[in-house]
């Protein structure tokens, strides 16, 4: 019944890569398969950060800080390598680094 109106904001395009990435990489059930890869250890994460997370600072700037924290980003869990990488990316992008949060 409302499909005519919806057409105006349903893109009809193939899904945006960012929408697929944020689901397929981060969500869905995690099963112990035989092949174990640590998604945190690989460059894939930098892709994710480049695509999605450049906006985390932006969101904070916009006053929107109540969204669910991504454990990838909130650090902790001894993910020092990750934090280091994130800091480097932030420096490269000219963003304030998250180092002072720790």
């Amino acid at each position: 019944m409302s499909s005519r109106e919806l057409d105006s904001y349903r893109s009809g395009q193939p899904a945006q890569l960012a929408d697929v990435l944020e689901r397929v990489l981060d969500k869905g059930i995690v099963i112990a398969g035989d092949i174990k890869i640590n998604l945190l250890d690989i460059e894939l994460l930098t892709v994710k950060i480049r695509l999605l997370i450049a906006s985390a600072d932006k969101a904070r700037e916009m006053g929107i800080d109540w969204w669910q924290n991504d454990p990838f980003l909130s650090g902790g869990n001894g993910q020092n390598g990750l934090e280091e990488r994130l800091r480097k990316l932030e420096e490269k992008a000219g963003l304030p680094t998250s180092s002072e949060e720790g």
Partner: protein, 256 residues
């Protein structure tokens, strides 16, 4: 059912997700295009799977492949499209990217060993789908403080700008919270996702809100969205999906 493997020893099984017993392998290209997507029924549930070359999908080679953006995009989209094809017919519990077994027996023993939890997760999803809603707004105006003629005028302009920015931020935050509240009340469940950068969203406008909803009555949900669209001409809304319910399955079986 699947294409004959070229080298039996060098393939594994990629598991996309799980559907109720009796499901068929959807006709969509597999993550490894050399093989077909098949349905493997075991223990009262059906795994949607395909063979993959372990030259690409083994622990030793996968990290390298994943660093290749073109390979990653193609493979991620294949994963998604297989699940979307399955979702067009039945409920789907999606697996996370790159869930790989060394052989069919291991895959079958996973399905058999977790059939109760998987069947429960499928039952909970029932006829529900995940819909995504993003809202965009015009970017904030650029600073004009640099054009001030005196130091004092500059400082005043900066203060005024700061005040406007804070107001704008508060108003955007209220809008996002309101959107989430209204959409959640027309859905079974809802989560707020990270905002995406302009580069990721492919738009000039700024993303103000990004949410995912587990929806049973799509008409009702879309009416709620229409009502928001009518009231808020200042927002550009985008509806995506239906998605497999990535955001509404337990991360680990037996939890949630």
């Amino acid at each position: 059912m699947s294409a004959a493997p070229i080298r039996e020893s060098a393939t594994g099984w990629y598991l996309y997700g799980v559907v109720p017993a009796g499901g068929e392998g959807p006709a969509a290209p597999a993550v490894d295009p050399s093989y077909e997507v098949v349905a493997i029924e075991c223990g009262g549930v059906t795994g949607i799977a395909s063979r993959v070359s372990l030259d690409e999908f083994d622990e030793s080679t996968l990290p390298e492949r994943l660093a290749d953006a073109a390979w990653l995009e193609r493979t991620i989209r294949a994963h998604e499209q297989v699940l979307e094809a399955a979702l067009a017919r039945t409920a789907v519990v999606p697996c996370r990217f790159c869930t790989v077994y060394r052989d069919e027996d291991h895959l079958r023993s996973f399905l058999a060993g977790h059939s109760n939890a998987l069947a429960e997760a499928l039952e909970r999803l029932g006829g529900r789908v995940e819909l995504g809603v993003k809202a965009f707004t015009a970017p904030e105006p650029r600073s004009t403080a640099g054009q001030a003629e005196s130091g004092r005028a500059y400082l005043e302009a900066r203060r005024e700008e700061q005040r406007r920015r804070e107001e704008l931020a508060a108003s955007r935050s209220r809008t996002a919270a309101e959107l989430h509240g209204r959409l959640s009340s027309a859905a079974e469940d809802g989560v707020v996702l990270d905002l995406q950068s302009r580069e990721a969203s492919g738009r000039d406008e700024e993303m103000l809100f990004n949410g995912a909803y587990l929806v049973l009555e799509r008409d009702r949900f879309e009416r709620a969205l229409d009502a928001i669209a009518r009231e808020r001409a200042d927002l550009q809304l985008e509806l995506t999906g239906p998605w497999p319910a990535y955001n509404f399955v337990p991360e680990e079986l037996g939890r949630g």
